[in-house]
């Protein structure tokens, strides 16, 4: 059944992939190369004196206990965001997969938040959670719960996790819904005839068939939490109070853009890049193997 199209010659195929190759070169290879080069130098902000320092920026990073803390914090943050956004999305997708009235609207409303820019999302959360002027924040304080994310590490972390996860629920929802719909009806019906019900049927029949989607989403969510949450965190807490919500990407911005320490900031970017490459490689291997089966 498989149809393959083989283009003749050498130049025509190259021409066809050229736009993609050019995009990769300009938006990935070039900046990534620059980052790797900068990470081995020490330079003043204006780049008038640039010196090669080898791996000094990296050894400085890893000998700084604050950086190690930041790595741990980022891992916790990413895991929490992925777990929260995926479990909520899965729950919603399972509900939306059924025959219910207004299903179309329900789905549109769930997908909507994905279109909200991170900074906008953060402002919405700010309006809700601000301890003095926020709807929820002020209400909490009034009901005797001391809510102040500007001076409470745990509350600040909880809030940025919730805000970041909320943004990603839509994305996960689309994939879970598609995954659920691609499960053959016959399998479900067979399970039903065998007497498998509710939770048991979900756990032993639906979930295993959904695993490729789950695994794909784990990787995507971890990458999202590691990179795309910058706007949300910066607008909500700027990494504070103390360093309670300073993830690696917030630190890259702070060292590079505010502190103008290009060498250190590039070294941090390279560390992040290695992390993402590792995650992606894992995803390819795992999904590739499943495909072969």
């Amino acid at each position: 059944m498989e149809r393959r199209t083989i283009f003749p010659g050498t130049w025509f195929p190259i021409l066809l992939v050229l736009p993609q190759l050019a995009l990769t070169a300009v938006f990935f290879l070039w900046p990534a190369g620059q980052a790797i080069w900068s990470s081995t130098t020490r330079a003043d902000p204006f780049g008038e004196n640039t010196f090669f320092v080898g791996l000094e920026n990296f050894s400085d990073l890893f000998s700084d206990p604050l950086y190690i803390d930041s790595i741990t914090r980022t891992l916790v943050f990413c895991a929490a965001v992925a777990l929260l956004s995926m479990s909520v999305a899965l729950l919603l997708a399972v509900c939306a997969d059924r025959e219910i009235r207004g299903r179309g609207w329900y789905r549109v409303m769930l997908i909507w938040p994905y279109a909200v820019a991170p900074a906008m999302a953060a402002v919405l959360w700010l309006l809700l959670m601000h301890p003095q002027v926020g709807l929820v924040g002020a209400w909490l304080n009034h009901s005797g719960i001391a809510w102040d994310y500007k001076l409470n590490d745990a509350q600040a972390m909880g809030m940025v996790i919730a805000a970041s996860a909320w943004k990603q629920v839509s994305y996960n929802f689309i994939f879970f819904l598609a995954g659920l719909q691609s499960i053959p009806k016959a399998v479900i019906e067979a399970a039903r005839m065998d007497g498998a019900k509710g939770w048991f049927r979900f756990r032993s029949v639906v979930l295993p068939l959904l695993m490729p989607t789950v695994f794909f989403l784990i990787v995507v969510n971890l990458v999202y939490a590691a990179f795309d949450t910058f706007g949300t965190i910066q607008a909500l807490t700027q990494g504070g109070p103390g360093k309670a919500t300073e993830t690696l990407v917030v630190k890259v911005y702070r060292d590079g853009v505010v502190n103008l320490d290009i060498g250190a900031s590039s070294a941090e970017s390279v560390v992040l890049m290695i992390g993402v490459i590792a995650l992606t490689a894992m995803q390819f291997r795992f999904l590739g193997k499943r495909g072969e089966k």
């Binding site: 020490r42 003043d44 004196n49 003095q132 103390g242 360093k243 103008l260």
Partner: protein, 457 residues
Amino acid sequence: MQRRTLLTGAAALVAAPLAAPISAHAQAAKTKIVLWHALTGANGEEINRLAREFNASQSDYELEAVFKGSYPETLTANIAAWRAGQAPHLAQIYEVGTGSMLAAGKAVKQVWELAKETGLKIDPASYLPAVRGYYSLSDGRMASMPLNSSTGVMWYNKDAFEVAGLDPEKPPTTWAEFHAATVTLRDKWAKPMMAKSGGPDLVAATSSWFAWIQIEQFGAIHNLPFASKSNGFDGLDAELKFNSPAHAKQLQMLLDLSKEGAFKYAGRDAQPDPLFYSGQAAIGFGSSAGRGDIARNAKFKWAASVIPYDPALTSTPNNTIIGGASLWTMTSPKRTPAEYKGVAAFLQFIGHPDQDMQFHEHTGYVPVTLAGYELAKKQGYYEQAPGADVAIKSLSRGTVTANSKGLRLGRLPEIRNIVYEEVEKALQGQQSAQAALDSAVTRGNKVLREFEKSVRT
């Protein structure tokens, strides 16, 4: 039909340069000057007004003011542009970026160099000492041109003072009086009002720009060093000094007040501002440039007062230090002497007393020249807007010392971030005031050494 349209179009194209030869010629003769800035709202409009009036005042130069984002964004964009050989002629850089700009070498042309090259006459003595000191080399030569300068002040809610039984015309002038006032405000204003109305949380006092006002200004007022080497003016090898027992005692007082519910830390930089504007805080430390916003938002009687001092530390409190930004002349490989002349002409233009006074009155920033201040006084501005001169009085109190001239430290924005982080930990009870300051000094010194290495090696 189609052909005719095309032909007509072609004819128009050919004719266009001939049709308006005179205006095109005049356009070409004008030298274009670009200024990048970070001012928004009323302040942004004001810089556009300066550009408009400068362009109308002469026929040789055309200045274009371009908004480039926040202060850090403008600085970063400026650096990236310089690296690409595309720097603007003038860049507005915030005061804490001064240390980095002074280390910029050939990327900038300092005001004294510009004056020498273009024959521009700029007399440093015509600028307010506290303003010019921040932007001058230690021998007095001016490095950048002051534009918008503010200082820290204490805003207070007169209505709240009255309710609490305090004299609204006598705001606290010492920290001991401040302490007593906040406790009274908490017990006789905040608590009863909240019990009565069930409205929003009220708090006696808050502070914007905590690092700038409660640490940097505190040092200047009491002649305590923020860093060695005259706060960094005399060398890149300066070390931070703001962990003295006096600093720690002051911070501990604020920590204690916070614990007792009489002082509220409501975030970094300007985040606490709305607390005072909305009437939820009776005393709000903030920038004097907040005047316009307060006038627009506050539904109560308010006034400004000089930041309190501690008589046990000094009987003659010093001037406070400035905040805000200055204009730096940037270089570029293709820049012509005529363009530098245009830059010089604009810098001279904004230093004109009348322009300076207008900028002051339209924005709430202080006049940067003595003549501009005199003019505002002569025209009776301070009778119409009482208290508008609190910032100037605060800036010109006493004599400027090595500790009150300002700060000249590389990566100062990062040092401020570190101060915020350590203070936030202390406010949560994770460490004492002394431990917070010690830790901030240790971490800050590391940042200074990194900066020193990056510009020296």
